[in-house]
Symmetry: C2
Amino acid sequence: MAGAVDDLKLLGAWYSPYVLRVRLALSIKGISYEYAEEELQHKSELLLRSNPVHNKVPVLIHGGNPVCESLVILQYIDEAFGGAGPALLPADPYERAVARFWAAFIEDTLVKAMNQASWSKTEGEKVEGNKQATAALNTLEAALRDISKGKPFFGGDSAGYVDIVLGGLLAGVRAMEAMLGVKAFDPVTMPLLAAWADHFGALDEVVAVMPDVSRLVELFMTMHAQIAAEAATAN
Amino acid sequence: MAGAVDDLKLLGAWYSPYVLRVRLALSIKGISYEYAEEELQHKSELLLRSNPVHNKVPVLIHGGNPVCESLVILQYIDEAFGGAGPALLPADPYERAVARFWAAFIEDTLVKAMNQASWSKTEGEKVEGNKQATAALNTLEAALRDISKGKPFFGGDSAGYVDIVLGGLLAGVRAMEAMLGVKAFDPVTMPLLAAWADHFGALDEVVAVMPDVSRLVELFMTMHAQIAAEAATAN
């Protein structure tokens, strides 16, 4: 049975895809917690003390013990709160390895390409990032076909570890789509990912924690204006 | 009881720190397996078919199922062969999270800095890489003090997940030390890491799979000569 866990606190930032992963996992498992929004220009003493190596959100503090890094936190949630809600990782060792492989692929290949596409200073780097992001999404489309075997999620009938790792990016993707008037998950070339994003995004547990896309658009536009101003100054 | 596992094959390359991690884990757990050396200029059909996303070693093939990426493979070995040899990860969820955090730190921060220090094309980048690698090692020194509580390994009395993730780098570190006449783990500023490297490197299970350092020195010198030649051509 899901529910409240004593002394559980999440240090986050509303726009962070890494924090969103943790909120998604806790929501899907039905675990309640205290949430503290960090201002990244004025990080709290608690954040600096809890993650002295990286000084970054998310940090999940459970009974005074801080857990850092989103993928580490997701696995911690699955292992420490096994009794609450659905398991995030499969039980079978091979299926667990496959899930960890795709989580690492999303982290190392897709996120890197998406960041390059979105935040590079030159048009050439952006185009290259876009190309790599599309290639990574095509690889994920094939993976989803192989893994889900006709079911809607990487986790099968319900959203699991890989769904959450990818799903953390969904708010940012929706904001970019709104800004640029494009579809990140092309329904023709990536029908399974497009359907996945619709299914995942419509889950009550997901809707409950998704940040407001129009607020993200506003933030992204400010960030793009800053990058453009910096690039103009550098020229 | 450790021993042979049916139908277990490792695709590797003798000089790869990532492959060494897998060999270390299998050796420490006492699991026997078939080893196939890949020539990276002529990758085998089996490698390309088993790791179509990255085309890279190591790949551990168990009962026909390929597992890729060294950190994923280590966790697979721990979960699939739980009955063989010592556990690599601790049992406690929080201690598991701490181990995964440091494995990610070694992978994302230390390895990146070491690669920059060793393989950059400009002296400035090398110096910066060296600075970052030293900072990362100082952070690990403090982590080892906190985690091991006076015991020789990150895993406590016996070598575990973090020891293996770091230990995979040890052959390359020894080769670099031999080439440059320096100590990577300074016994004065990093006494615990220096002692850790000596303890870990002396374990029978480690000695059994460590690549020959003089052969690594030869390989590194060839690679450095190639980089120097490329840099000269680019000028």
